[in-house]
């Protein structure tokens, strides 16, 4: 009795504030941090797997990993990086930032939001646990019938990806509902910050494309465990059907991973150039254009699979057309920094790195869309290089830019600039050193997903491996910076960057309900240098509005 009472007393006592990050919590800011930290852990896991891959490829011959082990490591590297790192970390930013940016108290469905997060740790553990029962080994694309023949871990993999997809659909419903119904007074759609536009475009894609992947994965899982014949040729099944279902999601998934990243870049450039974003509407509309076009290009991954040859050309055209809205974004960003007053804080460096690297990924995408060239480079290291320039050089750079940019907002502390610069330069050199040689080695004839290669490719592979190890090492200054600064960094102002978007108009970190009083918006988000709406001075926290 006595013990019960003391237990009850202990339960009533408020828990230390950091404990909420380990518990069910419906505050979008807590959930955002949960997302970012959890997914960063998976980034480290995926990165370690990449180090194994690059070690194996340091020299020709099968030395460190045999064929099966290599396939498992490579498959899980891809799956972890895409499904457990890039997609959910961007959802994490969305969770933390979107309600603040639109002047809301929280997301529209806080409990759904928490549920969406809590699907991720079990899904991640499921994917990694598959190593104990024979991990997935059919690549992240899980092409049938190879994935039907793979060991039991492939089933766990499928279940894990279904869970992650469900989580992603949940956050898409939540984002769209929040953005449609909970904007602050005066925040019309043409005053929405571009990051919010990016999240809108991404959510539309998640909502329409992810369920198709879920359906496809269910078919694969049923083929594996229930004896269905969907993809088994002997029973009349057609392996190409899986490629349709898979790529109908997985090509848009690239835009799911890139559009919010582009949104982050669009936030960073105006702030650190002290200039309005150039061509706001065109950037916003190009996000939507990319989303819509992105749903129509999936079969360009299937030019070499025996699809109807007449249908290839429309897919080539739609794939190439995506270059146009993408170009609009890049030119607009350049025009934004043109004649600006640039400050090279770490977020700005990563944003410029984003442009320079994403550009390479984008331009090589045109080669891949051109069918005659694709018939040579498809499924080679050229593709590996292309997708890493888009997703690592692009999305991950933007994620780093966002992490540094919003670090003071989220933690209430300032990170260390010098470590940030070190991190950037290691990352920049590492990215180019790791992935540029892959273009060459792919053109020369090295297929992707091989544990062994022709000795003539050795030098290029060694360069790539050295770049890869540099990338691995580049995480260390970041981690040190993030941890130490959170504990001991200088206290940050509410608005250390003198930014104009709403998330900076409240204290760092924001109070539980985000704003003392909900703001009323009277101007666009990037009106730097305008006479009337002066940039707010750095204000001591906590503060809401002026």
């Amino acid at each position: 009795m006595e013990r019960m009472r003391s237990l009850a007393a202990r339960l009533r006592r408020p828990a230390p504030s950091w404990l909420r990050y380990f518990r069910w919590n419906t505050d979008h800011k807590v959930i955002g941090v949960q997302y970012i930290v959890t997914t960063f852990f998976f980034f480290l896991v995926g990165g370690s797997l990449a180090m194994l891959v690059r070690s194996e490829l340091l020299q020709p011959g099968v030395d460190l990993l045999n064929g099966t082990e290599y396939n498992r490591v490579m498959t899980n590297h891809g799956s972890v990086m895409l499904f457990l790192w890039i997609i959910p970390v961007l959802a994490g930013f969305g969770n933390y930032i979107v309600p603040l940016m639109i002047g809301a108290r929280d997301m529209a469905f806080p409990r759904l939001n928490a549920l969406g997060y809590w699907l991720i740790p079990p899904a991640g553990l499921l994917m990694l646990a598959s190593f104990f029962v024979g991990a997935a080994e059919a690549g992240w694309t899980a092409y049938v019938p190879l994935s039907i023949r793979a060991p039991d871990g492939q089933t766990l993999w499928a279940v894990s990806v279904i869970l992650l997809g469900t989580s992603s659909i949940m956050s898409a419903v939540n984002f769209l509902t929040t953005i449609v119904t909970m904007r602050a007074e005066g925040l019309t759609i043409w005053r929405l910050p571009l990051f919010v536009w990016g999240i809108v475009a991404t959510s539309v894609l998640s909502l329409t494309a992810t369920p198709v992947l879920t359906a496809g994965l269910i078919l694969v899982a049923l083929d594996r465990v229930a004896g269905t014949q969907f993809f088994l040729v002997a029973g009349g099944g057609d392996p190409v059907l899986w490629q349709n279902l898979f790529w109908f999601y997985s090509h848009p998934a690239v835009y799911i991973m890139v559009l919010p990243a582009m949104g982050i870049i669009s936030e960073v450039f105006p702030v650190f150039s002290r200039k309005p974003i150039f061509g706001y509407r065109m950037i916003a509309l190009s996000s939507m254009a990319i989303a819509v076009l992105g749903l129509t290009v999936w079969a360009h991954h299937m030019f070499t699979s025996g699809m109807d040859p007449r249908l290839r050309v429309p897919y080539m055209v739609s794939s190439m057309v995506i270059a146009v809205p993408t170009g609009v974004k890049i030119f607009s960003w350049l025009a934004t920094i043109w004649n600006g007053k640039l400050r090279f804080n770490t977020p700005m460096l990563f944003a410029m790195g984003f442009i320079s690297q994403f550009l390479i990924g984008g331009l090589t995408g045109i080669f891949l869309a051109a069918i005659p060239i694709d018939l040579h480079v498809h499924d080679t290291y050229f593709v590996v290089a292309h997708l890493h320039f888009v997703l690592f050089g692009g999305s991950v750079s933007a994620v780093y830019a966002g992490l540094y940019y919003w670090y003071p907002k989220i933690t209430g502390r300032m990170y260390d600039e010098r470590l940030g610069h070190t991190h950037f330069w290691m990352n920049f050199v590492g990215t180019n050193l790791a992935y540029l040689p892959m273009f060459l080695v792919g053109l020369l004839g090295m297929p992707r997903r091989v544990a062994d290669y022709d000795p003539s490719f050795t030098t290029l592979n060694q360069l790539a491996s050295i770049g890869g190890f540099l990338l691995g090492a580049s995480v260390l200054p970041f981690l040190w910076n993030a941890i130490i600064s959170w504990l001991r960094g200088p206290v940050a102002d509410a608005n250390p960057w003198r930014a104009l978007t709403l998330e900076w108009q409240t204290s760092s970190p924001p109070p539980e309900n985000n704003f003392e009083r909900l703001p009323v918006v009277t101007h666009g988000p990037y009106d730097y240098g305008e006479a009337a709406p002066r940039s707010p001075e750095p204000v001591p926290s906590p503060a809401a509005g002026e």
Binding site: G279, T304, G306, L342, I366, D379, G529
Partner: protein, 330 residues
């Protein structure tokens, strides 16, 4: 000041154009051109390389220039002059890329039609992929072999299929690739234009031995090809050739056949080891059993189910006998 910036623009344009031109004509990034198709694909590739190199230099140059030129002066806390956009500029950088894309698209379609146009006097070669080897059939001459030989200058139509999972038939020197998908036959046309030996690789992940699913295409003069075909029709009698042609080499290391596959157990010294594997089974019977019924005994440390089960029907009795004798002697 104005003149200087004008000069700068002219200079930059020159650098970009020259850079694009060099990229388009001088950089040689592709392997040997082994087919007429390769010539056309490379021409398209060089054109794209030129265009993209121009855009690349333009954007990276602007980025670098901005980083150097527009750096904030120390102590300058003011905002920059607000420019929200410029309709003419925005329309321009939408339309120009769109025009370039249309041009590239049209040109690509032309190349595509050229390289896939059916030719007279085409020779059909059936390609069958299986874990982890290729098999080639010349239906007109009723020849099945593990080696791909082609006469130079004669158009070839590959009819590609698979017996297990998806593979992808790729000859980098031909700039040609097509998936071998079970349950369907895909077509690929090329005309070899260079005599020589070029690697054939599997480009689609097909299992643990994917990296080793490599063979060669031998392009030779028509009379040499005809002789080879006649000889092959008689059937291979050289044991090392049987070992290679039936795909054993893809998975098993054997010095005498020059192979170094790692998917299955190494076969060096198998002649002495074979008798000890299963009590009561002679070395010869063990080897026969391992070839015709691989699941009967699986060497510890290796997975069952990877080795094809159909050697009994694919190998003639003579070939099986030659192969077993060959292995016994190792």
């Amino acid at each position: 000041m104005k003149e200087r910036s004008l000069l700068l623009v002219i200079f930059a344009a020159l650098v970009l154009t020259v850079g694009g031109y060099l990229a388009a004509t001088q950089l040689h990034l592709m392997p040997v051109q082994g087919s007429t198709r390769a010539v056309e694909v490379d021409r398209l590739f060089q054109l794209l390389l030129g265009i993209t190199a121009f855009i690349f230099l333009l954007v990276e140059g602007a980025l670098l220039y901005a980083a150097l030129r527009f750096r904030r002066k120390p102590g300058d806390e003011a905002d920059a002059a607000p420019v929200h956009g410029n309709n003419a500029l925005e329309i321009l950088w939408t339309i120009i890329p769109a025009a370039v894309v249309v041009f590239v698209g049209v040109y690509s379609v032309q190349v595509l039609q050229d390289i896939e146009r059916p030719q007279d006097n085409t020779m059909v070669v059936e390609v069958v992929g299986r874990q982890f080897s290729w098999e080639f059939r010349y239906p007109a001459d009723d020849v099945t072999t593990g080696e791909l030989h082609l006469p130079v200058g004669r158009p070839v139509l590959f009819q590609i299929s698979s017996e297990d999972v998806i593979h992808s038939f790729w000859v980098p020197a031909f700039r040609a690739k097509r998936d071998a998908t079970p349950g369907q036959v895909s077509e690929l046309r090329i005309t070899p234009s260079e005599v020589g030996r070029f690697p054939v690789r599997c480009a689609e992940l097909c299992g643990p031995g994917h990296a080793g699913m490599i063979t060669e295409v031998v392009v030779e003069e028509p009379d040499v090809f005809a002789a080879w075909l006649a000889e092959t029709k008689a059937g291979p009698t050289d044991p090392a050739a049987i070992f290679t042609q039936f795909g054993c080499a893809a998975c098993h290391t054997l010095a005498a056949a020059g192979s170094n596959g790692l998917v299955g157990p190494a076969l060096d010294g198998i002649g002495t080891r074979a008798a000890e594997r299963e009590p009561g089974v002679s070395a010869q019977d063990y080897i026969v059993q391992s070839i015709t019924d691989p699941g009967a005994y699986v060497v510890p440390g290796f997975a069952d189910g990877l080795m094809p089960r159909d050697f009994k029907s694919r190998l003639s009795d003579d070939q099986l006998r030659i192969l077993v004798e060959f292995l016994l002697a190792q």
